[in-house]
């Protein structure tokens, strides 16, 4: 349950960006969360709500795009979706897989006034 730390880091970045753009109201913030990240989206929503309640950020929407886990075989070059966390190429069976997506934990954009 480290979603509270993540939510706090998120709020820090939001405040920094809002100050930089002279924004006074946050409507929504969009995140990209990879399937390999150890985040439970529902917990993060819950923590975000708790932290923002009673502040000027209250009511802002937290939008989360979940990114599937994808890899590329370093042996044959095949790109594929990694299922069940099996890092093995479905084409040649090679075990040397580079993770190309699914590790994200980032802010994409914010809607502010």
């Amino acid at each position: 349950m480290h979603e509270m730390s993540i939510a706090q880091s998120l709020i820090d970045i939001i405040r920094e960006e809002m100050a930089r753009h002279n924004a006074c109201r946050l409507r929504s913030v969009r995140l990209r969360i990879g399937r390999l990240s150890a985040i439970v989206p529902e917990s993060l929503s819950f923590c975000f709500e708790i932290i923002t309640t009673g502040t000027d950020l209250e009511g802002a929407k937290l939008l989360m795009d979940l990114v599937p886990l994808r890899g590329r075989c370093r042996q044959c070059g095949r790109e594929f979706e990694i299922e069940e966390y099996a890092f093995e190429c479905p084409l040649c069976g090679g075990p040397d897989i580079e993770t190309t997506a699914g590790r994200e934990l980032s802010i994409v954009d914010m809607e502010v006034d």
């Binding site: 349950m1 480290h2 730390s5 993540i6 880091s9 998120l10 820090d12 970045i13 960006e17 753009h21 924004a23 995140l31 390999l36 990240s37 150890a38 985040i39 069940e84 966390y85 099996a86 890092f87 093995e88 075990p95 040397d96 897989i97 993770t99 934990l105 980032s106 802010i107 994409v108 954009d109 914010m110 809607e111 502010v112 006034d113």
Partner: protein, 219 residues
């Protein structure tokens, strides 16, 4: 108005971890972030490792626990520098907590710093502390389904110690199956099969650590 941000949410922690790392590198210190579930044997492994290496490798330890200084006392009995961090509820250590311990150590007189993270198979994997690499322990009674259930930690670790292999005959789970499951998630893992109870397999781990800490030839 839409603002494009594109920023890693953990960037602030990553930055502190990089700063920590720079200090460790400058001091020529090997730093291992040791992770596992509660009770897998992190402190036991440390005790055995200290006993075996303390004449060759100068070791320091940071103990991370939600509460208590139980583990730090166990390590302090070995006569090496140790700092206990109580996270007060937080399920992992982060870069900042590690930085706060720096005044307690004399890094010029250490070769190896082991950060024993909070017992937890999920959260610590997400937070860098400035380590050279992550090492994890999976104990045999935990079962061979853990790599598939908690893939991030296995994926992030460089070393896996399968501990309590002496218990394998009494359980339905085989060490070979655990190793296979772990390598499926991360084929690059260096795996040691050990028992901190009987000492089986530990010599290979000790040799590996000696080499990693760069003390094999230097003496």
């Amino acid at each position: 108005m839409k603002i494009s941000v594109v920023k890693n949410i953990l960037e602030a922690n990553d930055r502190i971890a990089r700063e920590n790392r720079a200090i460790f590198d400058e001091k020529g210190l090997l730093v291992i972030n040791l992770m596992s579930s509660p009770g897998a044997g992190k402190t036991s492994l440390l005790e055995k490792t200290i006993d075996a290496l303390k004449d060759d490798v100068r070791i320091g330890v940071i103990e991370g626990d939600i509460q208590s200084s139980h583990d730090a006392r166990r390590i302090a009995e070995k006569g090496i520098p140790v700092v206990q961090i109580n996270t007060g509820g937080a399920c992992h250590l982060d870069g900042n907590m590690i930085r706060d311990t720096f005044d307690e150590f004399d890094f010029d007189h250490l070769d190896l710093l082991v950060v024993e993270n909070v017992g937890n198979l999920v959260c610590p994997a997400e937070f860098k502390v400035g380590e050279d690499f992550k090492a994890m322990i999976l104990s045999v009674p935990e079962g061979d389904d853990k790599p598939a259930k908690y893939p991030l930690m296995f994926r992030e670790s460089k070393v896996l110690l399968i501990n309590k292999i002496d218990l394998a005959p009494y359980l339905d789970c085989s060490v070979a199956a655990m190793k296979k499951a772990a390598l499926k998630v991360n084929p690059d893992l260096t795996v040691f099969e050990v028992s901190c109870k009987t000492g089986e397999g530990l010599d290979a781990w000790f040799d590996w650590i000696r080499q990693a800490a760069g003390t094999t030839d230097a003496g």
